[in-house]
């Protein structure tokens, strides 16, 4: 099915199952421990041996020699995979560094061996006996030092490196009010609950991987390219995933090494990347340096806006596209965005929840706060004044498919009690706390991508959906079940959803907040095909037939789905593909974050007291799971604002704080009540679901609202994240923070 004209009224609009806040249909299995995760698939792959990854002790250089004798002689050891015995390996397009290093070392903790033993303890113990002689090279580990060597990155998800409209320099030069500031954001780790983990088993030349992966079809292809075997020989199974945030978009060392290990020892091998290995072995969100210049009139109306971004990655890697939102969020005829990419020999940078916008808005939305103050305009009003209903780079001929930023700002401000904010910083005290409020716009592109599914009905009228779509904790099972139930007119408990298996039709997968809308649209397409088959069997014209109460109905006539399906059952498969609506219309999701913080007048401890947000993201398929996505992302925004940072040791070239004791993410005590409002919106240009993504929108701007609230509380303006106590103290004058 092709979606190339805006949607008209369709079965989803009935809203009997879709749009209802159903509990997760996989929730009970997860909370009772009966949903097995990749590392627990003893049922599917009994007698698995255990692999333990040996990571490189240097960041850049070569392995001179490996001495495996002591490790091989250790108790229980079955084999050791290294570059010397792994055979010729390719590399997938999506990996920057090789998943198995050696003799060349590309980054610290790059896997250089997998020790396989009969128990986890024996494998881990023997891994420490692998002796490696390294010849280290000088590496580049300091983004600030390498910044000026940056070059325009080649195109990726973020579009072109640079964009221009009008004449930024001229517009900025004559602006009445100018903001020109630099901001920095640090490297961050996904810190998802479940580590990367895989069990691999070979049957002849057929490989099965029970793994934790967001993108099944991508990773089958990447594995085939890496092992140089046909895709058809690889099955990837990933029905339950304990979080990903982008860390599991790609094939990682656990999967490759489990496959190589299982081939070596002739039995299934299971590998998890240990928590302290994850930050340096896998991908992370790259640090950025950003410069923002805004020229406006005295009322705050923007005439010129520029956003320049510098980041670094390994050779062949990509940039953090932090200027993406600045291309679309606010008005202004004179515009400039640039991205520059420097070579760094740190571990591989890549996507983490809302790549681009998550850190771009940490800068842009603070700059907007600075502009509001410089103009003496309320920060909510400033954003409303600069709203634009079309792509401001392309002009009015490319309108937004739907854009309710202003509604989000107005309704969000109303609910939050924004009118109680004192615009003058440092004025509000509550005991030992200085109290302030901040606002930030939320923006995240809406991506849609081809997604397939098959759907069947059995003789009892029970519906089954199969797609390789993944549920990374987002609620995919439930919204897919709701979609199928709505389309076929059955209750949700009459639907079984099977996900995350490469034997099922290829889907959008989970990433870039495209999964919810795209995968349900794929189910919609398959369901439309099944409806046609069912109507035909009933002898009804499909465009007149009603699907409700488990029946296909035409006037007074009706037939149960199960009867029509018969003993054989009836199946249909299709996918949703997309035309040029994303080119003709700018498609994005919007919101407004509000935050109230307290800052200790002496110690500069920051406590978030309240958060509120209003969001417009098309049809909300399940308000309960959508709210969970948004509050989780807001929590991640608090982490980005206040504590998350991978600290770089620029001598040794690694992230020093590589465990959960030292890489801090928010705990429950850091997060107060979070109020979430979804603005009514249907986006008929996005998909037949009229939905958009919502999984990443909540992080976009959340941290900037925290930063702006700190400023309002204290008068201390910080531009280098995270906004820790030491930085607030350094920027404070006098004995008190204010």
């Amino acid at each position: 099915m092709k979606f190339d004209t805006p949607a008209t009224t369709n079965p989803i609009d009935r809203g009997r199952v879709i749009g209802i806040p159903h509990d997760r249909i996989d929730g009970a299995a997860k909370v009772t421990g009966t949903a097995p995760y990749a590392y627990e698939r003893h049922d599917a792959a009994p007698n698995a041996a255990y692999g333990w990854i040996v990571g490189s002790a240097i960041a850049k250089g070569r392995i001179n020699a490996m001495d495996l004798r002591a490790a091989e002689a250790a108790p229980g050891v079955l084999g050791i995979v290294t570059h010397q015995n792994a055979g010729p390996l390719g590399k997938g397009n999506m990996n920057t560094a090789h998943l198995l290093g050696g003799p060349q070392i590309e980054h610290y903790e790059q896997a250089v061996a997998l020790v396989i033993a009969d128990t986890l303890e024996n494998a881990r113990d023997a891994a420490r006996l692998v002796r490696i002689d390294y010849a280290p090279d000088q590496g580049r580990f300091n983004l600030a030092a390498e910044r000026d060597k940056g070059v325009p990155p080649e195109g990726g998800f973020g579009g072109p490196a640079d964009t221009k409209a009008g004449d930024f320099e001229a517009g900025f030069a004559k602006a009445a009010v100018k903001i020109d500031q630099h901001y920095t954001t640090p490297d961050q780790s996904h810190a998802m609950m479940e580590p990367h983990a895989t069990i691999a088993a070979w049957n002849g030349d057929k490989l099965t991987l029970w793994t934790s992966n967001q993108m099944i079809a991508w990773s089958v292809g990447e594995m085939a390219a890496t092992l140089k075997i046909p895709k058809e020989n690889i099955r990837l199974v990933s029905p339950y995933i304990g979080g990903g945030f982008g860390a599991k978009l790609f094939l990682r060392a656990d999967a490759l090494l489990a496959a190589l290990g299982a081939r070596m020892v002739g039995r299934p091998v299971k590998v998890a990347i240990a928590r302290p290995q994850i930050p340096n072995n896998t991908t992370h969100r790259p640090a950025t340096i950003q410069r923002i210049r805004i020229g406006a009139d005295r009322q705050g109306v923007i005439d010129a806006i520029a956003h320049e971004v510098w980041s670094g990655d390994l050779p062949g890697g990509g940039a953090e596209t932090a200027a993406q939102q600045t291309r679309l969020l606010y008005r202004g005829p004179n515009r400039l965005t640039t991205h520059r990419l420097s070579t760094l020999d740190l571990p591989e940078g890549n996507a983490m929840r809302a790549p681009g916008e998550a850190v771009g808005l940490l800068a842009l939305e603070v700059a907007m706060d600075e502009l509001a103050e410089a103009c003496g305009v309320d920060p909510v009003e400033l954003r409303i004044r600069n709203d634009v209903q079309y792509d401001p780079e392309a002009g009015p001929q490319r309108p937004f498919s739907s854009r309710k930023l202003v509604e989000c700002l107005r309704e969000g401000a109303e609910r939050f009690g924004w009118n109680r904010r004192n615009p003058k910083p440092g004025q509000v005290r509550d005991g030992r706390w200085l109290v302030g409020m901040g606002v930030a716009s939320a923006f995240r592109n809406n991506l849609v991508t081809k997604s397939g599914a098959r759907i069947g009905v059995d003789a009892k009228g029970h519906v089954t959906v199969e797609t390789d779509m993944t549920d990374i904790g987002t609620g995919s099972y439930t919204i897919i079940g709701q979609t199928a139930a709505e389309m076929l007119g059955v209750p949700l408990d009459a639907v079984t959803v099977r996900l995350g298996d490469s034997r099922f039709p290829a889907s959008s997968g989970s990433g870039g907040q495209w999964g919810g809308n795209s995968s349900t649209a794929g189910v919609y397409a398959a369901a439309m095909a099944l409806r046609a088959k069912l109507a035909e069997k009933a002898g009804f014209p499909v465009d007149k037939a009603l699907f409700e109460d488990g029946l296909v109905r035409l006037g007074n006539q009706s037939q149960p789905l199960g009867t029509l399906a018969g003993r054989e059952g009836l199946w249909a498969e299709d996918s949703m593909d997309y035309g040029d609506l994303t080119k003709r219309y700018a498609q994005a999701t919007f919101g407004a974050h509000f935050c109230e913080v307290g800052v200790d007048i002496d110690t500069a401890e920051v406590r978030v007291r309240r958060m509120g947000g209003a969001f417009a993201a098309g049809r909300i398929l399940n308000p309960k799971s959508a709210r969970s996505q948004v509050i989780g992302a807001m929590t991640m925004g608090v982490g980005a604002a206040l504590m998350e940072e991978l600290s770089v040791d620029t001598r040794f070239g690694f992230f020093v704080n590589h465990d959960m004791a030292e890489y801090l993410v928010p705990v429950h005590a850091d997060i107060p009540h979070q109020d979430v409002l979804f603005i009514d919106e249907l986006d008929d240009k996005s998909s037949p679901m009229k939905a958009k993504g919502v999984g990443e929108l909540g992080i976009c701007g959340a941290g900037a609202a925290v930063a702006n609230a700190i400023y309002n509380a204290t008068g201390v303006r910080l531009r280098d994240y995270p906004l820790t106590i030491d930085k607030i103290l350094a920027a404070s004058t006098g004995k008190r923070v204010a």
Binding site: V667, D670, K735
Partner: protein
């Protein structure tokens, strides 16, 4: 984790004797620190002596009017003890500021005193660390040292002592009661229990080979107002950047002990003596001799401000 053998001690004397006579032996109590370090092979004991079943889990009054806390009393139980909450509230508050509920359920009084630093270079066995591998150098001195100590450090080691509980015990002038390999008993003043790194950062306390902590004894209650203020990068479940334990008297006298800034729980007579002069004077006295790095110099200011906060609240 290297393979190890395991035994249950029959008595405290048996535990100490076995520990002294068994190469590579360590005691195991709650295991909240030791087991993690064993998995990383930072600790590589060849034999573990379980001391969980020796009846060391009681809290009882002493003849001198103090309190004897068994070495195996769990942090959760100690924090909730009525006598502790009434007479030594700073200890209860310090305990509850540490770790998580789950960890406090397992962690013991004696084990907490022996927990090792959270310096990230100590934790990564590929990095130089004189504490983990004597003579290998200090990775932290010119590395990422934001969380590390500014007082009592040496050129060999700038690791911080991570405990909250030990800071309160230092404030309260606790005694660490032990039994030695020869069955002899002694009490070590908490001030002398933890050692500064000097040239030997791998030697962290005054215990002799095999010596087992059996209890911690508190002197009779101090009275006064007890406070424990822990400043950290998130609200809960994080190590201190700076913590201050204090007992304020009505007449302006006070005593102070500090966490997060010292190579050991930090207390100075000069800081206590400066109490009547106010927070700034206390901070100046306490921080005398500080040797911060560029990354952790803020801890000086933060210590002063944390003290100022305590004085402000005391006045309120």
């Amino acid at each position: 984790m290297r393979p190890f053998t395991y035994s249950r001690a029959a008595s405290v004397e048996d535990a100490a004797r076995t520990a002294a006579s068994t190469q590579g032996a360590r005691f195991i109590a709650g295991g909240t620190n030791l087991l993690d370090l064993m998995k990383l092979q930072i600790e590589t004991p060849t034999h573990l002596i379980d001391v969980n079943h020796l009846g060391l889990d009681r809290i009882e009054p002493t003849a001198e009017g103090g309190l004897r806390i068994g070495a195996l009393v769990r942090n959760t139980d100690l924090a909730a003890d009525k006598a502790v909450r009434r007479d030594y509230a700073v200890l209860s508050r310090a305990l509850l500021a540490g770790a998580s509920g789950q960890l406090r359920n397992k962690a013991t009084t004696g084990g907490n005193l022996l927990q090792r630093t959270r310096c990230p270079y100590f934790y990564d066995t590929r990095m130089p660390c004189n504490k983990r591998k004597p003579g290998s150098g200090c990775g932290a001195l010119k590395g990422m040292s934001r969380s590390l100590a500014i007082l009592g450090t040496s050129d060999a080691c700038i690791a911080q002592h991570p405990s909250d509980m030990a800071v309160a015990l230092r404030l309260l002038d606790a005694q660490v009661d032990t039994v030695g390999a020869d069955g002899g008993r002694r009490s070590i003043p908490i001030a002398d229990f933890h050692l500064l790194p000097g040239e030997t950062p791998h030697i962290e306390n005054a215990l002799k080979p095999g010596e087992l902590i059996t209890s911690v004894t508190l002197p009779k209650p101090l009275g006064g107002t007890h406070v424990y203020r822990k400043v950290r990068d998130r609200t809960s479940y994080a190590f201190a950047l700076v913590s201050v334990a204090a007992v304020f008297e009505k007449d302006g006298r006070a005593r102070f002990a500090f966490g997060g800034i010292g190579a050991k729980p930090w207390r100075t007579d000069a800081a206590d003596a400066a109490a009547p002069s106010g927070a700034a004077a206390v901070a100046e006295a306490a921080l005398s001799g500080a040797r911060p790095t560029a990354h952790n110099a803020f801890k000086q200011q933060l210590t002063a401000r944390t003290l100022a906060s305590l004085y402000r609240q005391k006045g309120a």
